[in-house]
Each structure stands twice: as structure tokens, then as C-alpha cells.
């Protein structure tokens, strides 16, 4: 009824491997895009932009980067936070050394720095797997955060050790820095995230993505069918760290406005990993669903007591919030261990069959 696929015939190979083999999927995405590009910007308050929309997009992007590495290529990484930091600090240095540089160029270039660092820390993946690799990437986490603190040049020897984003304009509109409006930043982030998502969808369902999946599912078999393991793994580290680095640059430049080294410590890595796991490893959609659950829901829940006029003080509300989110995460994982993306896939399947049970 909602999702009748009957009558949608595929008459060519083109149609068979189209991005949206079912018409309703394209329609649904169109509605979401309409909301993201038109409805939200028209209705949202500054608080909604700064505390909900922009962070959800940025965290989804970081999770997408991690998902390529962990979900598609099967290499567990705990260094996401540090790679985000590399992107942010690289962008900061680029902007302070070349103040004339276009912000889009600076962000795009900063991704290459984190990609390079990611490949270097990905080298151990050629020899070690699973939890042991996670430990090796943990080393990246500790080392890089330490470097952000100790290497004064990275933060222009600021007394506070923090990096501050200057005002940067793009085509006459301030998009970064204290004078930027929330809506301009939102559009910038939204466009970047859209472009990278399209790129990620296409790379993961193409030749390279299949190569990664083969490596993930059984690396010996993959090697036997002629996949170059070294190339596949390092490429996964490169692409993943590139996206993560861009997410890091957006994180500081388009959202936070200032950052200290501690920000990129393990809690951030875990947060991104949780988004990827709860959203669903090996999916693109999952990152968005996971980010909504982990990033946006706590903010929304914290506004509920006040909206309903309940006399709960701020600290109690915060404790309740942590409990509710924890319970939700456990519930979702029990109901569907493969993450929210799988949950949606099941709903969609049922909708296609509805109203018939089989």
C-alpha cells in the first residue's frame, strides 16, 4: 500500500543497478531532502541549528568515515577522534598560513593530511587484525592528542592551547567564525555532507566497495581471488580518514568555533564508534540514524521537562537523560543487533508486503 513495488519492471541493466531501484525510495529521499534544504531552515531557531541539525550532520559524516573502514573493510579503529583532530588542526594551519585560501579548498585539503596520517597508522593492519588492530589505532589516538597539546606551532602558540576559528567568508557570506550565522553554517555543512554521502554511496557499491567487503568477510579468500590486500586495506584507511578529517574540520570550523586538544580524546572516538555501531555497520543510512539517536535525542529529551513544565532540576534531568539514552541504546540493540539501518530495512520490507503477512 505504502510501498507497492508491483508494476515497477526493470527492462535494462541500467535500471537494475540504479541508485533507487524502487521509486518510493527516491520519493522518500526527496521528502527528506526537502525537509533538510527548505523546511528546517525556514522553521528552525538558532538553538535548533547549533544544537541539533549541524552537530547531527557532522557526527554522521564522521561516523560515515569510520563506517567505511570498520563496516565495509572490517578494520576496527579507535582513532577516529584523533583523525578528526588532524583534519581540524590541518585546516586551522592552512587558514592561518594562507588567509586568502577559500574555505572549501582548505577543508578539502585538510582531509588529505588526515588521510596520510590514517594510512601511516593503518600500516599495522597488514599484519594484525581485529582487537589487536584496535589497540594499534588506540596508539594513534594517544600519540596524536599528545602531539596536539605539545606542539605549539599547531595552535600558533596560543596561551590557552586552544585553536580559535577566525571569521571566514565564502562568496561574501561569513560561514565560519563568531560572526557566521547558524543558517549559513548549516547550509555549508549540509552541502558538504550531501556531496560526500553521494561519493560514499557510489564508492561502497562499486568495484572498490566490493573489494572492501571481500576483505572484511574473509581476507584469505579475497587474496585468493586476486584482491591486493595491502591496496584494499590502505585505500580503506585513506578514504575513511579523509572523510573523518573533513568531519573534524567541519566540527571545529563550522560548528564549535574553538577547540582544545582534549576535545579529540578517546570519548569522541567512542562516540563516533557508537554512532556507527548503533546505526548499523556496513550501511550509509545507519550513520544518520545513529547520530540522531546519540547526538540529537539527549538534547531533545533535556528540553522535555521544561516544555511540559515539570519541576525537575537541571542535574536530575541530566541523570535521567543519561539513563533514558542508555536504556534506548540497549533496547535498540536487543531488538535489532544489526543496528538502526537494518531496523529500517525490516520496516521497509514489511511495508512493501503490507497488508499481506508474507
Amino acid at each position: 500500500m505504502f510501498y507497492p513495488t508491483a508494476g515497477q519492471f526493470k527492462t535494462s541493466y541500467q535500471a537494475d543497478y540504479a541508485l533507487f531501484p524502487v521509486r518510493q525510495d527516491a520519493f522518500l529521499l526527496g521528502v527528506i531532502a526537502l525537509f533538510a534544504f527548505v523546511v528546517f531552515p525556514l522553521t528552525a531557531s538558532e538553538f535548533t541549528f547549533r544544537a541539533l541539525l549541524t552537530p547531527v550532520l557532522i557526527y554522521s559524516l564522521a561516523a560515515l568515515g569510520l563506517n567505511i573502514l570498520t563496516g565495509y573493510a572490517g578494520q576496527l579503529s579507535l582513532g577516529t577522534g584523533a583523525f578528526m583532530g588532524v583534519g581540524a588542526y590541518a585546516c586551522y594551519k592552512l587558514v592561518s598560513i594562507f588567509p586568502e585560501m577559500n574555505i572549501v579548498v582548505a577543508i578539502a585539503l585538510s582531509g588529505f593530511f588526515s588521510a596520510t596520517i590514517g594510512v601511516i597508522f593503518g600500516l599495522p593492519s597488514l599484519r594484525i587484525k581485529g582487537f589487536y588492530l584496535a589497540i594499534a589505532t588506540l596508539a594513534a589516538q594517544f600519540f596524536l592528542v599528545w602531539l596536539f597539546q605539545k606542539w605549539g606551532w599547531l595552535y600558533n602558540y596560543n596561551a590557552s592551547g586552544a585553536i580559535q576559528v577566525p571569521n571566514i567568508a565564502l562568496f561574501g557570506v561569513t560561514v565560519a567564525g563568531p560572526r557566521a550565522t547558524a543558517i549559513a553554517q548549516y547550509y555549508f555543512v549540509l552541502c558538504t555532507v550531501c556531496v560526500i554521502t553521494v561519493f560514499a554511496i557510489n564508492i561502497t557499491r562499486g568495484r572498490i566497495g566490493r573489494m572492501w567487503k571481500a576483505v572484511r568477510d574473509m581476507d584469505i579468500a579475497a587474496e585468493l581471488v586476486g584482491i591486493n590486500l595491502m591496496r584494499a586495506k590502505l585505500m580503506a584507511f585513506f578514504v575513511s580518514s579523509y572523510i573523518v578529517g573533513i568531519a573534524g574540520a567541519l566540527f571545529v570550523f563550522l560548528w564549535r568555533g574553538a577547540a582544545e586538544a582534549n576535545l579529540f580524546d578517546i570519548p569522541l572516538s567512542f562516540r563516533v564508534l557508537f554512532i556507527a555501531i548503533i546505526g548499523g555497520l556496513g550501511s550509509v543510512l545507519g550513520n544518520y540514524l545513529g547520530a540522531i539517536l546519540i547526538v540529537a535525542l539527549p538534547v531533545i529529551i533535556s528540553t522535555v521537562p521544561k516544555a511540559l513544565g515539570l519541576p525537575i532540576d537541571a542535574a536530575t534531568a541530566e541523570h535521567l537523560n543519561v539513563m533514558i539514552i542508555g536504556a534506548l541504546i540497549i533496547t535498540f540493540l536487543i531488538v535489532e543487533p544489526h543496528g538502526l539501518a537494518r531496523f529500517w530495512a525490516i520496516i521497509r520490507e514489511k511495508l512493501i508486503l503490507w497488508p499481506f503477512p508474507h
Partner: protein, 439 residues
Amino acid sequence: MKTLLKTAILSSALVLGAGFSEPAAAQDDSIYIPNLSYRTGPFAATGTPLMNGQRDYITLLNERDGGLNGVKLVYDECETGYNTEKGVECYEKTKANAVVTQPWSTGITLQVLPKSNVDEIPILAPGYGFSPMADGKVFQWAFNPPSSYWDGASMILRNISDGNLDNLKDKKIALLHLDHPYGKEPIPLLEALAAKHGFTLLPIPVGLTEMQNQSAQWLQIRRERPDFVLMWGWGAMNAGALTEAVKTKYPMDQFVGIWWSGHDGDLKLVGEDGKGYRSVSWSVPNSESPLMQDIKKYVVDTGKSLINQGEGEFDWVFYQRGLMISAILVEGINAAQEQFDVKSPNPEQLRWGLENLNLDEARIQALGAEGMLVPFNTSCADHTGHGGGWMLQWDGAKFVKASELLTPDRAAIEPLEDKEAQEYASANAPWPINEECKM
């Protein structure tokens, strides 16, 4: 599946509604004072008494005087857990009606500072934040009365050198600090003074993850044998440092903390062993003062306070400092009300009020808080006031005042303040400078 879908749709509708609704509009007969508090997380132990103090002072005014000059003060907390990300979220959430921002963390202050020129809401960061905020011409919207961290560092050095910093020549001073913008604050000044007066500065950072286990840091202190250890610690770090100091038998009279490292609860843990530990402070607890008696009568005894009476929180340095912080803010509001003849001043009027604070001894006495706060006054060029402070010493059971009024060596600090403020302004150009201020 159907019910599941229904719940999903319903909850998402609810969520959207909650997320997009605007906060309630401000009312004329009240003043909205948000506070970015932290009663949760690793810093809760030190944050809670301060928040309780801030809350109780406002409650007292509402209960005893029916508000401030007939206007009700609405105190509202937004929980940050000392987390910068949450802090910015809280700032965005509360700023619509707020007359003031109380960021309560140097990290959050650094985040909201650049926005203050755009949103035009004064930031009140008493005794914390970015030291160059003292330069009111550059930082038009930021206030850190009555003393900045650099003032504190200067006061401690003056005290341990008996008034003459040259006495510190060839001595070794360790700075045990939280590895966070807050802990790094005093380093530029201490480095400059070390070069000038010939002492060795040894910064020893304590990472946020190793606050409770500082054995590595104290091993270094034992090896280096510094003549003094200064501490810029917060939350769980203070207790960790004090217990390690006792364990390594570091002489307590050579161990001096900044005002945030003088929490009764942390020293109770070491008790008698902590005797001699000092902490510089711009507020002194005085439970016998008329103000404290009123707090007891109107707030604590009527059950409106959240303090832990069994622990004796009423007498704590931090609780009474929290009261003083709200007192400073209310003085600013009061000044704005009188100057502009309005009931509830807007943020810009409050900025004038905070620039024209005049908390001299007589005024502090009139508030019933004699001796509880250093006298100071601010101006458009001086947003700190540089009132100075006293040394508080732990006598084994409580903190007692252990020095005359100490004042910072402003001649040594000012050039550095100017330089840092200018650097900040040029790094964040275009940054408006208050040209009207001719001081």
C-alpha cells in the same frame, strides 16, 4: 509492526515539536539569570557547592526582599557537566532571554567569548576565564572580577617570596596544572616572571584522564624537589594531588593552590595531614556575618536550599564564594536599574552595570558580607577590578585567613595583558574595540 510504526511517528512528531518550539518570551516583571552549572561529572564535587551558593543568594533576595527592587530574579540552571560541547548547547538554549552568561569553565568561556560581540550578552566569569579579559576596551562584553588568574599567580608569588620576587632567584617552582585551557592560563605570566626574576618554572600537566592517579607527576616532583608547588587544579584533581602530596610527604607549607584548589571537601580527605596547605582566595567564609544569618533564616532553615547540612557545607569556602559571585552579579543589575531607571535591564544595560561596579568596603558591609569579599571596582577599561585576595590556610579542620590583603603586581601583568588582548583581537578580526572608553 503497526503499533511500532505508530509510536515511531508519534514520537518523532513530539520530538520535532519539542526541538523547534521557541523558549517562552521574557517577562517585564522578572530578570532571567541562567547559569551553566555542573552538578554531574568529574567536577561535580567542586561545582555543586558553588552552584548552591549562587542559587541560594538569589533565593534569599526573592524570599527576603521580594526580588531586587521589586523585580523577581529567575535563576535557572543548565547542566553542562563541565563539558564544552554541552556548554555551548546550554548557551544557545538560554541566550534568548538571558541578561548574562555565566559559563563556569574556561573552555566554555573561550567558546562563547567570540560570540559575545555578536549576541551582545555580557559574560560574567568571576575569578576564572581568560586573564586578558581584564582589558575592557578589547573584551567589551566579558568580565572576570575581582581577580584574574594572572593576578592570582602574581599574588601567590609575592606571598611566597615575602613581597620581593627577587628572593625567588635560583629557586625551583613547579606548576601542577590541569591540562586544559584553565590550567594553562597562568603559564605565560609565570614564564615571563621566571625569566625576569631568575627562578625556574617547571610546568607539570595533569591530563583529564589521570586526575585521580597522579603518581607519575608526584614522582617527578619528588625527583626534582621544587621549592614550591603551585596548583591550578579542579574537580577530582585537587583531591588526587593532596593525597599524593601527603603520601610523598611533600611539605604542605610549600604547596599553594589557586582559589579553585581550596575546597573544604578535598582537604577533609587528608585532614590533619593537610595542615599548612594554602590557597589564595578573593573570598573568605564568615558564617557569623548578617548575610549568612539571613541565608540560614530564609533559605536553609525553610528547606529551600540544596546544601548538604550534614557535611557542614554551609561553612565551606566554595559555598560562600558562590554567594559572593551572585552578589557581584546582582550588584551589576542593581547599578543598571538605577542608572537607566528600568525594572529589568537588558543585556546592554547590565554591561554598563558591570562596568560600574563599586563594591567598596562600605557597600560590602551594607550587603551584610563584611570581610567575605575583596573590595574592588570596575570601569569600562578595567573589567576585572584587580581587588587582590588573601591566603587561606588549612588548619586541619577548616580554612582560616592567613595573610593581609595581597595585591597583584599590576605593572608586571599589564603589558602582557595588553599584548595578549591585542593578539586575540587581531586573530579574530574584525574585532570591535570600545572607542568610547577614554580611560
